[in-house]
Symmetry: C2
Subunit: 394 residues, 2 copies
């Protein structure tokens, strides 16, 4: 069964993470992705370690299911090939710094003229407009500027970056949302349009209750560790071999927790009798929970808490996630047979569709793997393709 985007052709100029995450999402949903890479070196992330038999594990994880065409967009023949591809495409995605595509004469205004049905998505750090538009952007810089670091961390003195590149990834998924809604709209209007997604905008969009807390109180929220601002105990607790998370959403669960950890004194302590008072007294309550739960292992407590129906969960390491029965049952870990690297593990698609399921069809391409196939489909002869190769156009 082909995916929901079967028949959609995407010309993909993206590099590293934000753009490639977007086109990976579209690939999983069935679109054909023609990834255009710089001849010789390709996507910068092909150089990012660790490498398996010379192929970047990082590159392979976010470029599965795409085709690779090397193309020098600055060469006249390279431009010509690109424009032929665009003429017949549904979507172009790029994540260059704003202005680069215009300099190449390949911005939306130019491409729209040769293909009015084209949807053109530009993903960038700050967006195509505004005073910072032309600045370079990195995930760390954007996480800091966007406010997320100011509310993440053990305490107010340690603003903390999220461990994965969340600013890039959100730009990728919101780009996919923009492209999909423009594709849907095109079925009525017959016309394409431009989608402009900024990493910084995405960070603002996901601040969640932090904006509400600030506008309600006028006080800037700060990192408060792993606890909930208004429910307690709803936090990480130390055990003899690590940490677990517990989530007591009401008084009954709190009393049950006191029973399980054999601390009846806490259950009758006036300071902890209501959710409100437990929130207020978390600074003295948390050390007592840590002390009580430090006596046994995470596995011990998780079993006890599950039996007592107190919501709890482990803080899994990556290897534990990758062997978790639920993760495996949901097909969230795939093994792809890569022609050079061998078996490669990549995460599956989290979009589970009943009739046209998302599917990872192929491993990531080696650089220029689909040059001959794609150029032949555009009508170029074997001799012409050899010529492009000799001139380093591809």
């Amino acid at each position: 069964m082909p995916g929901p985007l079967h028949g959609i052709k995407v010309i993909d100029l993206t590099r590293v993470l934000a753009g490639p995450f977007c086109t990976m999402t579209l690939a999983d949903l069935g679109a054909e992705i023609i990834k255009i890479e710089k001849p010789g070196t390709g996507d910068d992330s092909r150089a990012f370690g660790p490498h398996l038999h010379g192929e970047s594990a990082y590159f392979m994880s976010i470029n599965r299911g795409k085709k690779s065409l090397t193309l020098d967009l600055k060469a006249e023949k390279g431009r010509e090939i690109f424009l032929k591809l665009v003429k017949d495409a549904d979507v172009v995605v790029e994540n260059f710094k704003p202005g680069v595509m215009k300099k190449l004469g390949l911005d939306y205004a130019a491409l729209q003229k040769i293909n009015p049905k084209l949807i053109y998505c530009a993903s960038s750090g700050f967006g195509q407009t505004g005073p910072y538009s032309s600045r370079p952007a990195y995930d760390l810089i954007i996480q800091g500027m966007g406010g997320l670091m100011s509310i993440t961390g053990p305490d107010a003195s340690q603003p903390t970056k999220v461990g994965s590149s969340i600013a890039d990834i959100f730009a990728g998924v919101f780009s996919a949302i923009g492209i999909l809604s423009a594709l849907y709209n095109r079925t009525h209007t017959g016309k394409g349009q431009m989608v402009d997604v900024a990493m910084l905008d995405c960070m603002v969009a996901i601040l969640e209750n932090a904006i509400a807390r600030f506008t309600g109180s006028g006080i800037d929220p700060v990192p408060i560790g792993n606890r909930h601002p208004s429910i307690a105990p709803f936090t990480s607790v130390r055990t003899s071999d690590g940490y677990i998370n517990i989530a007591c959403g009401n008084d009954a669960l709190w009393l049950k927790l006191c029973e399980i950890i054999e601390r009846p004194d806490l259950a009758t302590d006036k300071r902890y009798e209501s959710n409100r008072s437990r929130c207020d007294h978390m600074p003295d309550l948390l050390p007592q929970l840590n002390e009580a739960m430090h006596k046994q292992s995470s596995a011990y407590w998780l079993k006890k808490l599950e039996e007592g129906h107190v919501p709890a969960g482990p803080i899994n390491s990556i290897s534990q996630v990758l062997s978790d029965p639920q993760v495996l049952a949901r097909n969230m870990l795939l093994e792809l047979a890569h022609p050079v690297a061998g078996l490669v593990k990549v995460p599956g698609s989290p979009v589970k569709l009943s009739d046209t399921p998302a599917e990872v069809k192929a491993p990531a391409p080696v650089l220029g793997q689909h040059n001959d196939e794609i150029l032949a489909s555009l009508g170029y002869s074997v001799q012409q393709i050899e010529g492009f190769r000799a001139e380093a156009v591809i």
Copy 2:
């Protein structure tokens, strides 16, 4: 200009965050959202503080642009009204625990029979299948189980939760992606389908280089603070009044940094001569950067670094984000006039479309605000609507 989803009708049974974030995204893109709430109390998040004139700032921020219909789905007349709505709808979204809708006789199998074009999206903690499917889920629990906490934090001893509810929010955006791709697919097939999105799956999908690093090395990644695993210095540095982020992606930028912070000794130190050696020696390099930059304020360094073209940025608090010129220029902060709460600030949509722009059309509804309008449109008379009210069906 109407949004790209103009004409799409969504029946929204969602509560709290993951589901409401999904339908907010669809609302911003122009869909009509009929939010069905429990008579009397409504969405649980209406009770979450802080409140402005009695209306929850939290609820208002993620329910803008929706209509509210109160409906008791357990009452026979409530079910009848719901089924009337579904008959004419494009999408149903719910984020109940798996099994709840089946118990109500309102699962996809049942609704599909009365409307084969319906797209039914279920967003849950663990998904509709697999051994943990029926477990309750909270953002904290899922961030821990999904591995993100194991790679976030100042160091290996402090696994850290992301400050916003990223597991819920990712489930919301991937649900939107599933719905949009199913809507597009329906334009060919005329048929709807089911979308099943799990918070845990979403966490696995965004682990990014952590999976690649683990599968490449066999070693579980741990939190490494704010620094980059393989580029240095690419980290937060302490100043006299806070922290800033710096991102030196190559040797030239590193040498420029040494000049700006007036530490020529670091530039000639053998330990820091290449990116590789700087990564290896970050434990002794970072304290020296902190020491040098602690002598001046964040604003001082940001100006100097910008002049020297060294990528850098502030760690903004929420109030700083909300007054940032770029954020304002991108319309990422909107003020909505709420009938009860007055002016309410909410983030804008990060999906910027050129022809059919996303747009926030209205503030969040008060509970049951659209009861009369929606029920009248289904053909119920004023008397019947009064009857529903008297019987607490609405």
